[in-house]
Amino acid sequence: MNFSIPKETYAGIIPEIVFGKGKKAYFGGQSALPFHFFEGHFPHKPLIAFEIQDQIPEDYPEELAKTYSSVWDDTLRWARFCESLGAQAIALRLTSTHPDSRDSKPEEAADKVKKLLSEIDLPLIILGSNHTEKDADVLPIVADASRGYNCIIGKAQEGNYKTVVASAMAGGHFLIAMSDLDVNLAKQLNILITQMGFPREKIIIDPMCSALGYGFEYTYSVMERIRIAGILQGDSMLCLPMVADVGFYVWKTKETQASESDIPEWGSLHERALMWEAVTACSFLLSGADLLIMRHPEAVKIVNRFMNDLFS
């Protein structure tokens, strides 16, 4: 029988992101809903960045410690280790700057970033500690220290976007703009950011991630709504790539930590924990994420296999 494919008419194209200095990484550039190859053009696969931190992590559960504890006391060694695992990009989270952590100085963070950039050839995503006020102190110094390296920095939020946007602009970086699980707030923040003169094509939306079982469906639907508004309805403030900061949310959950002896009906911890990250990540690819920030190398492998399968 004859089946004529019911196609959608699109009104926008997601800007293509090319970041990094030596080695570059790519994502975005597509012209249809996620993996709808039959009605659009997909120049790049989504990108996975390996998360590292600027200190020994305070809350990595056992499953992550097994992988990283031999390298995590040295940011550079940790990054090289990720490179050896096949990382195409690194996401450095400056957790030590958080006032409740070491409250380390912006200059110290900037030194770490500089060192990393001079020694490692991979594209870098630089994330603050997710403390709105402290990030406003740290990110400008860090953005300046990495000037010319064409990084992604974040996250700009309602409470600190003015400083963070100005510093990303001065440093020539891409910017992650995060709002609280709300399509209207995401649009509003992007309007404010572009009104400051920051180029729209350099914004990456973070609609606020969540883990499977813990608000997952909110993130999933907000991502779908952002992508539909952007690419189908042509809302330019939402027609932008999206990031899912998966590892940060997944590895806080009980499912990645409770042992089988504690909760027998949950089954084996190792498989459960890494699949919690892999399934959360794969789901958000389907709802529109173009950039994933992840932690467990096995989970990354599985997500890569899924992407290759989708692009087969």
């Binding site: 029988m1 004859n2 089946f3 494919i5 019911p6 993996f35 709808h36 190859f37 039959f38 409740d100 997710n130 709105t132 409470g159 609280d180 699980l181 969540s210 499977l212 079982g213 813990y214 608000g215 997952f216 469906e217 909110y218 999933y220 639907s221 779908e224 709504r225 539909i228 806080k252 499912e255 027998p264 009906e265 949950w266 089954g267 084996s268 911890l269 498989e271 459960r272 890494l274 699949m275 919690w276 892999a278 399934v279 794969c282 789901s283 389907l286 096995e298 599985i302 296999r305 899924f306 399968d309 989708l310 692009f311 087969s312």
Partner: protein, 450 residues
Amino acid sequence: MALTGIEIFKLLPKTNCKKCGFPTCLAFAMKVAQGQVDIEQCPEISEEIKAKLKEASTPPIRGFFFGSSSTKIKIGEELVLFRHEKKFFNPTVLAFEIKDTDSNIDLLIDEVLNSSIERVGQTLKIDAIFLKNQSGKVDIFLQALDKILDKAPDLPLIFGTLKPDVAVAAVEKTKDIRPILSEANSENINEMAEIAKKYNIPLVVRDKGIEKVMALLETARSKGIQDLIIDTKPETAKEILINNTLIRRAALKKGMKVLGYPIITFANRDDDFYETIIASLAVLKYSSIVVLSSIPKWKNLVLFTLRQNIYSDPQVPMQVKQGIYKVGEPDGNSPLMITTNFALTYFLVKGEIENSKIPTWLAIMDCDGLSVLTAWAAGKFSASKIAEFIKESGIEERLNHRELIIPGYVAMLKAAIEDKLQGWKVIVGTKEASGIPAFLKNYMKSKALV
């Protein structure tokens, strides 16, 4: 699918003639929709309108049940491509494949029967067994079937066989549990359709790609089979995503009745990790049945949670169970905070307490899933209800202090709560969750000073 009152109303003459005994056409239509009144009571209704009503009342994707009267599961009848547009209605059935040649069938059945897990107030489990006729023989298939019927007489079943004689023999034994017959292909469609028709059971129709499967679906439809299930034999994740999307889109947006049926996906893959991913894709992207080759507990937990999340109603606020939750490892000196059971409120508050790194008791009160201010306005987050909840929760015995932190939005309740909770001091917290880390830190500092 029944039409809504308003859809029926649109087809009525809208004269408000009152001959039906109702004051208006809409009031009458609403009653017809509820099945309390017959449409024939409208004297103006023509044959043409009746035909239109029938056409309009056919759902774009057919829905039907399988399983026994006590275990029946509904599949299909989905109305949207994206859950925010309304919701996804009938959750994906997770079926475990057992081969009739498996040597440990009893153990495998036990795995299904012991698969249930409690999560957010729901019991989640593997719903059905897909019994595969690996042997190709009738007697071996029936032996395996007997074992299942022995242990689980009314568990919903899907029979996987290409042989009409096997199908007949199995279906004869399971007339009371309306099994699904899988599968009809281009070779056996006539015989299989015959059986599905005779026993009135759902039939899986399988061929490579949408066009080929459409031809088979046409054949089955022409034989009068209504309860059909589609399998386009996708091999890659790409094929699953695209075929499922196009089928649902064609049924919903183009009204293509021939594709308006539920989809089955065989997730079986070479490794458990990847099988879980493929099953997740199928759950998220429109499959009504997913067949799994193994069901270890960790995998079930992942898939159950995903299915529960994605089939939740975006309009009904997700609710958290009432109770006192631990964030971190709080002790008798840790702070006690209270908020409502709107899931988003809970996740945000819990997340911010975690960020503060201060172990805290979090009291979650049942307010029908409303947010703080709405719950207060509706009288559900009131001083007396809060006081009653705190008293009955037993938290008093676990604390060395008597201080309750309430959300900033209900600061006005402070005095009233203190009135009703003798010996307690009420502290007004922040309005927004984002202020919690700073608030908690100051709070702990001030307590240390005292």
